[in-house]
Symmetry: C2
Subunit: 314 residues, 2 copies
């Protein structure tokens, strides 16, 4: 029982990892995501990959402590995945389905952002913290809460969904989720680009950002670092809303640490410090020196969290 | 070890209760709060009351499982009370001080709003829930989070401080805490009165609220119930911000239930339903039918939570 599989199901690819309790990640690879309304074919692909991996490594099924599987949707406390729109699935008890198809038990499932948070907590930036909130700045804004080694899943599976907390009650445009004023509308890669375009349109101020046909979040942060005044204003604006949302989350769970990951976090220390400053401006004095760190495991956070879940429970 | 004391230290009075494990609250009373920078005289008063109570009831000190003590300030995970401005205290390890003076051990301390939440969870409105957030609408807005029977205290003792989450990032006026746009500026009794005065000033619309020299939160809700259009607009406005802040908190911890207490909650079902509607408009469809309830224990929630803490730990 010294091995496990960590699986992270994304909209495009499925990341897989073979882990040992003693040495962590031994091997990782990816397969394409089979979309559709029925999860069985996709689970069949994963099962096949596992069999191959076991025979290649001379590991018996009985040596596998279990499987952790991150899914791109909310998972409630009964293990019910409440749909995964990017793949085409409705509500499904994904763990039970997987156990039947893989012939391995138990299969633990959870939300991908929450598993990424557990991955950073156990193996990455949060290794020395007792509790953390992780925020993933990508196409959307994801989040996960880990308290004393446990993912906070929540009654309906939406704990940690910081991207859809309302940060602007006066917003008139709708978020992808249907409501208005979500953090994701400002602090995701897409949201940052939207803000940049808005700032540029509403002013005549010269800016190096104007040279791009299509601005990206990367360009925004690069130009801000280069000292472009307008890019810096935009970076400060989105960081302020992000810091505020993090302060709000800390006023609910008050963790030891904040970890920021996702593609946008490649802007690095520059972004981290801007967000941390905005956080500190929005909390009581005695809460100001919270630890902030950049994520370390990047795309592998999910499989690491999935493995951590198995080894912790078994 | 079948008895305990529950104590709730407020800015004006200290509430005390003698509890038995089998029958709950046996006796309750109040004494005035001795203010000052040194907590010892106040702790001495409490100790004296306890001695009297024990001798009156023929209970030996050895039969006391412990003391739970709610304090009006943040208490961090090491048991350090980070000041109680209403009384005059700075940072103090209140539990250790109390154990010395009372000669009873252990003394568990915690934030008053968090203990009230635990009280409702164990003995009140949340008796059948596995987790809850309680929000107290009084002069300020307090809050507490209980997950699986445990108060979430947080690293710095500020978990549950929903009153100081930012709900309006564009506010220009400062909250008592120093920052701008806190929920408390709109949804506390004081905040609601401020909003009412603002609405009345900015419009000529007739309103039964105009008959009062000094509007109170109670009058606001009474007039809204009576069908005064402007009072209703104000009630909807503050309920919307409150519902939004609750939705934000639920997107972080996602509890089974929301309990609303404090003086303003006397507006009852009318207020509760308005807040619940605003909540539902600000969350994903599958989170909409969260349980909402009014608090049941009122001013006794704190001592009940303090007692629950002792009996649960011992």
């Amino acid at each position: 029982m010294e091995y496990c599989f960590g699986v992270d199901i994304g909209g495009t690819t499925i990341k897989m990892g073979l882990f040992s309790r003693a040495d962590g990640l031994l091997q990782k690879w990816e397969i394409p995501t089979k979309k559709g309304t029925d999860p069985k074919p996709l689970l069949g692909d994963i099962a096949e990959e596992m069999e191959k991996c076991l025979s290649q490594n001379g590991i018996k099924k009985e040596e596998i402590a279990g499987v952790g599987m991150a899914a791109p949707g909310p998972v409630n406390e009964d293990g019910l995945l409440r749909g995964a729109v990017n793949i085409g699935w409705g509500d499904v008890f994904l763990g039970e389905e997987a156990e039947k198809i893989m012939g391995i038990s138990p299969v633990f499932i959870g939300n991908d952002a929450s598993f990424a948070a557990l991955g950073e907590y156990t193996f990455g930036a949060g290794k020395d913290a007792s509790s953390l909130i992780m925020i993933t700045l990508g196409t959307g804004v994801g989040g996960g809460v880990v308290l004393n080694g446990q993912i906070l899943m929540g009654k309906t599976g939406t704990a940690g969904e910081i991207g859809h907390t309302t940060i602007n009650p006066f917003e008139t445009l709708s978020c992808n989720c249907g409501k208005k004023g979500c953090l994701e509308q400002y602090a995701s890669a897409t949201g940052m680009v939207r803000m940049a375009e808005k700032f540029l349109k509403e002013s005549d101020k010269p800016s190096t950002l104007r040279q791009f046909d299509k601005i990206t979040a990367k360009e925004l942060w690069d130009q801000a670092k280069n000292g472009d005044e307008m890019a810096l204003d935009i970076a400060i604006y989105v960081s302020r809303l992000l810091g505020m949302a993090i302060a709000n989350a800390c006023y609910i769970v008050d963790p030891e640490m904040i970890v920021i990951g996702g593609g946008v976090s490649k802007a690095g220390q520059f972004l981290l410090e801007m967000v941390q400053r905005a956080y500190a401006e929005n909390v009581f004095p005695h809460c100001r020196d919270k630890k902030f760190a950049l994520a370390k495991l990047h795309n592998d956070a999910g499989i690491h969290g999935a493995a951590a879940m198995v080894f912790e429970k078994r």
